[in-house]
Amino acid sequence: MTTLIIAEHDDHSLNEATAKTLTAAKALGAPVDILVAGLHCRAVAEQAAQLDGVAKVLLADDEELAHRRAEPVAALIVSLADGYDAIVAPATASGKNVLPRVAALLDVMQVSEITKVISPTVFERPIYAGNAIETVESHDPKRVITVRIAAFPATGTGGNAPIETVGVPTDTGLSSWISADLSTSDRPELAGARIVVSGGRALGSAEKFNEVIAPLADQLKAAIGASRAAVDAGYAGNDLQVGQTGKVIAPDLYVAVGISGAIQHLAGMKDSKIIVAINKDPDAPIFQVADYGLVDDLFSAVPAFIAALKG
């Protein structure tokens, strides 16, 4: 049969997480459709249609789907589920919110955050903050899967899939959206960035975090990340937390500044290609995973790093 992907987007542009999810979905070996659910989001459907190897794009464009609340989006996906034997979403905040709801409505046990497709019913997924990898086989009539996007490359463009409009079930009105507080930044998005500079508790204040980390990120054209301690203390936004319970990323270069390297933090970045750590404690656990460690006070080391980069 067919696989359905739930597109990640903001009504204007298709997020790269979708193209990465497509790579995982294709490994299931069946044709792949993409559902774009939102409001005034035809432009997104057109972008999805260009991804390579998509059979068709379903466009659900409705007032109720603005802000993609879990209840109406899950109801929509369930209304389409008959035609599919696998439903796949990226393990983004939105995918994690909606897909388990879909799984339960279909009486299916979801396979969360897969990192590898072994067969259409057998998957690898990390457990215990990535300290163990479990291989699981699903025995449900359908598969409901979220995909760890850092584990899959993005599928390219070149396709020209047809776009089909689908109807939307009536919402039960049990929830309503009030407001959003979204950060705007010209920097690359943390989840897909090639280079990430992360700051930890050692920065000491939001001002210092910005003063020290931002210029290095600018110089490297990097996204900014943070440890939980830095986010808890208000030095950085919650969406910048890297780790087991934040974002899991695998950039080409990860620079950890004043971060100790707790298990939970490592879970979010240890698959980075190259890891750099700057920490004044030579015994900090972060050095056990770092390719290049600099034992120094970050407040002098980071400016020196920037100066050396400028050459």
Binding site: P100, M109, Y128, S175, W177, G311
Partner: protein, 248 residues
């Protein structure tokens, strides 16, 4: 209004687990166990709502072996009023947990159920959403702020790119994120008092729920390890190494 808080017994967050060499799972021998940290945040939030006079009772429920009673006692020592243990030694998946909780909720009729967004053992991040689906209730996952209103709740949620605020009609499901609150420690007198608080036991069979797993675990292995690299003496050497490696 009654608040129900499901709590899970997991390996303590500070423990680095070991995978059994034969690939059959995690080695639990002599490993320190604790309440899932997100569930502590859930218990704390329920207690604060009760202390603000907006709830009358906080009930903690756990699904697991005999020892899960210890986790319930931790919740009772924090201040919950009552505990329910759904006793089973089987491997219980999130879908089955949601079904068991649904059965408990049918009897308890809480106005609000607060769960952790994920358990730090299987990292599934499913149970709250699944429970909301089975009950036909609205959900607010990854909560960083909960404000109870007349017959509803206004919840701020941590999402990609920032946060959003949504309103739910009660009864509802909320799952907690790290920034919601800082859980209290149980005081010694409260730990003593908790021993006398009511703790009921039931079983999946008594609740009429089939908990047969839908996933078979074929194997568990350690991830490919990463070895530490080298220490560089200066920022200049660091840049030279990064250039050599083609990273910049």
């Amino acid at each position: 209004m009654k608040i129900l808080v499901p709590v899970k017994r997991v390996v303590d967050a500070n423990v680095k687990i070991r995978v059994k060499p034969d690939g059959t799972g995690i080695d639990f021998a002599n490993v320190k166990m604790a309440m899932n940290p997100f569930d502590e945040i859930s218990v704390e939030e329920a207690l604060r709502i009760k202390e603000a006079g907006l709830a009358t009772e906080v009930v903690v429920v756990s699904i697991g072996p005999d020892k899960a009673a210890e986790t319930l006692r931790t919740g009772l020592a924090m201040g919950a009023d009552r505990g329910i243990l759904v006793k089973t030694d089987a491997r219980i998946e999130p879908l089955a947990v949601a079904k068991l909780l649904k059965a408990v909720i049918a009897a308890e009729e809480p106005g609000l159920v607060i769960l952790g967004k994920q358990a730090i053992d299987d990292d599934s991040n499913q149970t709250g959403q699944m429970l909301a689906a089975l009950l036909g209730w609205p959900q607010a996952t990854f909560a960083s702020k909960i404000v109870l209103t007349d017959g509803g709740a206004t919840v701020s949620r941590e999402i990609d790119g920032g946060s959003e605020t949504i309103a739910l009609k009660l009864p509802a499901i909320v799952t907690t994120d790290l920034r919601l609150n800082e859980p209290r420690y149980a005081s010694l007198p409260n730990i003593m008092k908790a021993k006398k608080k009511p703790l009921d036991e039931t079983t999946p069979e008594a609740l009429g729920v089939d908990v047969t797993p839908r996933l078979t675990v074929l194997g568990t292995v350690e991830p490919a390890g990463r070895t530490g690299g080298i220490k560089v003496a200066s920022a200049a050497e660091l840049v030279a190494k990064l250039k050599e490696a083609g990273a910049i």
